[in-house]
Symmetry: C2
């Protein structure tokens, strides 16, 4: 006789349902007006609940925002992971898929992207220490860049040994301890370059200048991939 | 007998003084809580003035914010221009001075930097069309990169002719019509790369990962400068 999986109680189901509604309503407020518009009072109003009822789920606005930041990182990382899942394409193409998923998510959720990577004002809690879902995304990128760098046995120095040391230490914290300084550097610069372009794209500045963000991104990824095999 | 310069009337002096107080108080609110915290009501409160009195200076919040954005661009551009004014150092060093001035301004005024280059929410007016002070800063960068590229007669294609065309058109709009696609590309990537690193530095993310932003910036500038002389 196998044991039935225990069904959640009615109370548990209601609690899960309310939690999901809190998440959805919070994201609706953020998407409309930015994270600074999210307060427990505004959320309670939008759900026709009382503020004390919300506090039974989150002890503070900071706790709620931290939860939403983690959720958003997870959505972004999931989108990136799905983009390359099972792909047999060449490494350069897989990097393009990862970056496209990142950019698409940012363009679809500009306010959430700003919450993750924008200037942190008073109204955003500091990131929780320890590995975040973003680290999983970076590990994906490191894996593909490692594949792209195949055939280049040299570790390659950036000409800045202190930075190389920081990069290798960073790679270890991404659970990729065998990453060369060269690959770690490529991973960081792909991220910072794409972030720079995408965040300026979100302001409309690149379009106003008549420059296509996607073409600039392709150029920058090619440059970063080339740095994996060019003799330093 | 030379004509005395006409003295401003008492009324004009008071108006100029109030305008300056509006600017200072607005920046104080922005620096403390971000531009979303700036409303005519909040500003009036901070100046112990009535809202209608403020509206005699700015017809709307949008008009005020547009004025503050222009002022901020001007401050940033002035800081960059002063950094290289009269400098006889080598082009690479002058690029470093420009970028350092840009980064220092961003670190000193993170909320204003976010107002200029962060995600534009509902509470930020679109940029005014036409050349902005930022264009003056880009022209400075183009000039130094042109000097850095000396001795490289090739125009150099990025391998993307459409992007090259966009870049050359962009350079023309910066009043640098003779700029090669190669130099224009280097100017744009220096900007987007530095913006990417600085804006992540402002979130505290790079520091949390143990990576020094300045070293990463140096590496990225060197790479962009190298692209000016490497055969394409």
């Amino acid at each position: 006789m196998t044991e039935e999986p225990q069904k959640p109680s009615r109370r548990e189901r209601l609690r899960a349902q309310t939690l999901q509604e809190i998440e959805e309503n919070s994201f609706a407020i953020i998407d409309a007006d930015g994270v600074h518009a999210l307060s427990i009072a505004a959320l309670a109003r939008s759900m026709a609940m009382s503020a004390p009822a919300i506090y039974r789920y989150f002890a503070s606005r900071d706790a709620l925002v931290t939860h939403l930041i983690t959720l958003s990182y997870q959505q972004l990382t999931d989108a990136m992971a799905q983009a390359v899942h099972g792909s047999r394409r060449a490494p350069r193409a897989r990097i393009g898929l990862l970056v496209t998923a990142y950019r698409d998510w940012a363009l679809r959720h500009p306010q959430r992207y700003g919450m993750l990577f924008g200037e942190r004002g008073e109204d955003l809690p500091a990131d929780a220490p320890g590995p975040t879902p973003l680290d999983q995304a970076m590990a994906l990128l490191i894996d593909v860049l490692t594949a792209a760098g195949d055939g280049s046995p040299s570790d390659g120095s950036s000409g800045d040994r202190a930075l190389d040391g920081q990069l290798k230490k960073w790679a270890r914290s991404q659970e990729r301890p065998d990453t060369s300084a060269r690959v770690a550097r490529a991973a960081i610069v792909v991220w910072t370059r794409v972030h720079g372009i995408v965040s300026l794209e979100l302001t409309g500045m690149l379009e106003a200048q008549g420059i296509e963000a996607q073409r600039l991104i392709d150029l920058e990824i090619d440059d970063a991939v080339r740095s994996l095999s060019t003799p330093a």
